[in-house]
């Protein structure tokens, strides 16, 4: 049995757990804990170690989808999770420009690990205040050849599209 992995990263509350839940065939193994600091006003629970989803291709091949913890104090996990990944998705909450700086920092950090293919998913495009993907590209200073994709992490079809685009990038 061969296993391969994709990592989903992004700032706190970008929607990583929902993203993985939308496509995982198992209930996402999520290590969520009650938030004890100021971030509580944004959401009640956060991922402290990792989210973990699975897509079984056939008897010989399984794709694991790992989500990194969003809060910066758990960033030591990023190096561990990124080891050996096929590619990664940077998920950004398009409706919260206050997180763009952190998203850019995460993007730069992951790009520095290795020249692994990646895509940027502009999440929460169903929200009224969402910045369009092309504006997000400029805000994050993403290169023109980087895919910045529209995404709604709770919509399975939308998440599938992001995964497919990442896989096409790996294929290139």
């Amino acid at each position: 049995m061969q296993t391969v992995k994709i990592v989903v990263t992004g700032p706190f509350n970008a929607g990583k757990t929902e993203f993985i839940s939308s496509v995982s065939e198992i209930e996402v193994v999520s290590t969520e804990q009650k938030i004890t600091d100021g971030a509580q006003v944004v959401k009640a629970q956060t991922t402290v170690a990792m989210d973990f989803g699975r897509i079984t291709v056939d008897d010989d091949l399984v794709l694991y989808v790992f989500g990194t913890p969003g809060q910066k104090r758990f960033d030591f996990m990023w190096d561990i999770l990124s080891e050996g990944m096929l590619g990664f998705v940077v998920l950004v909450d398009s409706a919260r420009p206050e997180t763009f700086r952190e998203a850019k920092m995460i993007l730069d950090r992951f790009r520095s690990y290795s020249p692994t293919p990646y895509v940027i998913a502009a999440n929460k495009q169903d929200m009224e205040n969402a910045w369009p993907p092309e504006d997000l590209r400029i805000a994050l200073r993403a290169p023109s050849n980087t895919k910045v994709l529209s995404c709604v992490a709770t919509d399975r079809q939308s998440v599938k599209n992001v995964l497919l685009e990442l896989l096409y990038s790996i294929l290139e």
């Binding site: 061969q2 391969v4 496509v23 897509i55 291709v57 056939d58 091949l61 794709l63 080891e83 050996g84 990944m85 096929l86 420009p97 206050e98 763009f100 700086r101 920092m105 730069d108 520095s112 690990y113 290795s114 020249p115 009224e128 205040n129 969402a130 910045w131 369009p132 092309e134 504006d135 400029i138 805000a139 200073r141 290169p143 023109s144 399975r156 599938k160 995964l163 497919l164 896989l167 096409y168 790996i170 294929l171």
Partner: protein, 271 residues
């Protein structure tokens, strides 16, 4: 769809960079405690700016620019029946008070005065409303944003912000591949030209600073300006790539077969 945010998270330089690169048309409104500004753009160029508490009308702009006296200003205001600057401008030209060039220069100077004030704002909410333009009667003078962004970045005083925007000085610079990049139309300082002259795939930002005896703060500020004006891009220099590749030999996954990726694609499609 309106873009909303706060200058604490996305500053004026970044907003102007976004408008410039995306060639946007619309109105940017910034509001803070006791302050409000409206700036309009057409196809990525600044066309109008107003600040609350400042004279908005043409008469005030001409007086500020010294094109008419305060007495003339008082008389024109008393006699003027129109509030529309375009109409008023035509009347003033026909009456021989000012020339068209005087009006264009005065409006341009006023617009620049307003936007340079905005670069000092570090807090306040903003809304960008696409396709909204100033009223029909307003005089608009299109101004390229690259020079404004460069001038704005010269006024940056916060080292922390520059460090956040440009954390790694071991990257190299290259000229942007945008076909409409207009380096020749930009007013650069001697120090900025020095940095430009060292742009080369082999030179990191740190090496450029060293060659020009520039402090970290100075080189970051110049590069930040060039980046924000869309003149240069960052990239990892070849030497650094080689080092990274060598160190990744242990952790990188073995090359994945094309057939495996095709199986994954097929699976995701069928889900």
């Amino acid at each position: 769809m309106a873009l909303k945010g706060n200058l604490k998270d996305f500053n004026v330089t970044q907003l102007f960079n976004l408008v410039n690169l995306a060639r946007k048309t619309g109105a940017l409104t910034i509001e803070g405690r006791d302050k409000r500004a409206e700036v309009c753009f057409k196809e990525g160029r600044l066309v109008y700016a107003s600040l609350n508490g400042q004279e908005r009308g043409l008469i005030g702009m001409l007086e500020k620019a010294g094109k008419i006296s305060s007495e003339q200003s008082r008389v024109i205001r008393a006699r003027s029946r129109s509030n529309a600057d375009k109409e008023l401008g035509l009347l003033l030209i026909n009456a021989g008070y000012v020339t068209q060039e005087d009006i264009v220069r005065s409006v341009r100077a006023h617009t620049l005065d307003v936007v340079y004030v905005l670069f000092t704002w570090t807090d306040g909410s903003f809304v960008f409303e696409p396709n909204k333009l100033p009223s029909e009667g307003a005089i608009t003078v299109p101004i390229n944003l690259e020079n404004i962004i460069m001038e704005g970045s010269r006024r940056v005083k916060e080292y922390e912000m520059l460090q956040n925007e440009l954390p790694d000085l071991d990257l190299a610079l290259k000229f942007t591949e945008r076909p409409d990049s207009r380096l020749r139309d930009i007013n650069l300082t001697v120090e900025e030209w020095r940095v430009i002259s060292f742009i080369n795939p082999r030179n990191t930002i740190r090496q450029i600073a060293k060659a020009n005896s520039m402090s970290d703060f100075k080189i970051r500020r110049i590069v930040y300006g060039l980046l924000s004006a869309g003149l240069v891009d960052l990239f990892i220099p070849e030497e650094l790539k080689k080092v990274a590749t060598a160190s990744e030999a242990v952790s990188a996954p073995p090359p994945v077969k094309r057939s495996l990726i095709l199986r994954l694609i097929d699976k995701v499609k069928r889900m």
